[in-house]
Symmetry: C2
Subunit: 242 residues, 2 copies
């Protein structure tokens, strides 16, 4: 895992693929088979997925869910990003986004760098964002890396966040070992591994929220396939927790 | 990440610390700051946490929860390992273990290598298992690595498993960035990172269920601290999903 530092503060329309290719060149360049993990916030900024609280008119439901401690305008933006509220305890909202991700605040995050009153939303289509970045990076470097657009999600029952894959291009989302046999010849069961989430989490170890490292190269992990971030969503009919 | 292969099929009473030290020596040895991740199944086998179905008398509740497709004896073992059933859809049981972990089957797993009819339970105290391994490895090598006892857990709302930390010794469980500032001077919020879970997931990428690699060395990750696996459990009063 190699952190990619030195990217500038990102603005709507910036060529993120070019900036990542340049950062990768400073650490020796990309190699075939490399996976580039990019923080969702970086992708959302260049895609203009930014909202200013002063432009938001909160609904009555937003005011109710915000409670005494929350900002109704921020909750209003969360509601607009949500397909369904899964749980709420004011001012906390766990929602299913329109993509199908279940996460805190429907992925809506306050922006530190953009200043107070600025919110960053998830990309409209993280898989498309990942595919576009893969193309841009290939055009610049000649190498088409796997790409993961990652975000920090909390988990039911466990403390702390781990980074997971929202958008994927050029690698597998899941490694399916069902039907394969282990080293002693026994068939493996219940062995669908969320390999893209594990790669996203591994990359977080060198990215870090405080360090200004919004991307990383993961080298030496084989995850061949053509997965999508939405492959990692539990189908509704199998979901015991909604 | 360096997978540690070549360990024998493990039996109750085997000196796992010695076997890991020997495997590490074959790949150049341990370095100060290394973290050793060991699969829970390996730890449970040497600790004798093995049950044979033929010795189990199922209760009426176990028969009910097993449904038509499950084995009531296996569900009986799951119930004995459980403090609480969180969800059930026969034959699937999501339970809180007596340690506090919420996971499928209370962590009870069929053993491939031990043959049909054999179940492996979670260690009685995974933090103590990790601490003991750390001591054993230090005695053999002179290096006291961080140790994580890992297991593959499913997640609410997401497909596939990722490996997480059940037991921890010599490293942090969580990285708490609350109150710290990012590279631009803005205070970070909601930034409690489950770093031990991310390390466990990263190690899974080189361990692999099918490959006969029950342990790995993770090198170059700084996670100073003295965390415990139970630090990663969401306190009941803050848990929105039980």
């Amino acid at each position: 895992m190699i952190g990619l530092a030195g990217l500038p503060e990102l603005e709507h329309g910036d060529d993120l693929g070019h900036l990542i290719a340049a950062a990768a060149a400073r650490v020796g360049g990309l190699e075939p088979g490399d996976i580039v993990v990019v923080a969702q916030k970086a992708v959302s900024k260049v895609e203009g997925r930014v909202v200013h609280l002063e432009d938001v008119e909160p609904s009555a439901l937003a005011a109710e869910l915000a409670g005494a401690d929350g900002d109704p305008r921020q909750v209003e933006v969360i509601l607009q990003e949500s397909a369904e509220i899964v749980r709420s305890r004011p001012p906390l909202v766990i929602a299913q986004t329109r993509h199908g991700f279940v996460c805190a605040s429907a992925g809506v995050d306050a922006s530190n760098a953009k200043g107070p009153g600025t919110l960053i939303l998830l990309p409209v289509d993280p898989d498309r964002s990942a595919a576009r970045l893969r193309e841009e990076i290939e055009r610049r470097t000649g190498v088409a890396p796997g790409v993961i657009v990652s975000d920090s999600f909390g988990r039911a029952w466990r403390q702390g966040t781990t980074d997971v894959a929202l958008g994927i291009a050029g690698i597998a989302a899941l490694r399916d070992l069902r039907g394969t046999r282990d080293s002693r010849g026994y068939e493996l069961r219940s062995t669908l591994i969320a390999v893209a989430d594990e790669i996203a989490g591994a990359a977080e170890l060198v990215m870090g929220k405080a360090a200004g490292v919004p991307a990383a190269i993961v080298r030496g992990v084989r995850a061949p396939g053509d997965g999508r971030g939405v492959d990692l969503l539990m189908p509704r009919e199998r979901d015991l927790f909604r």
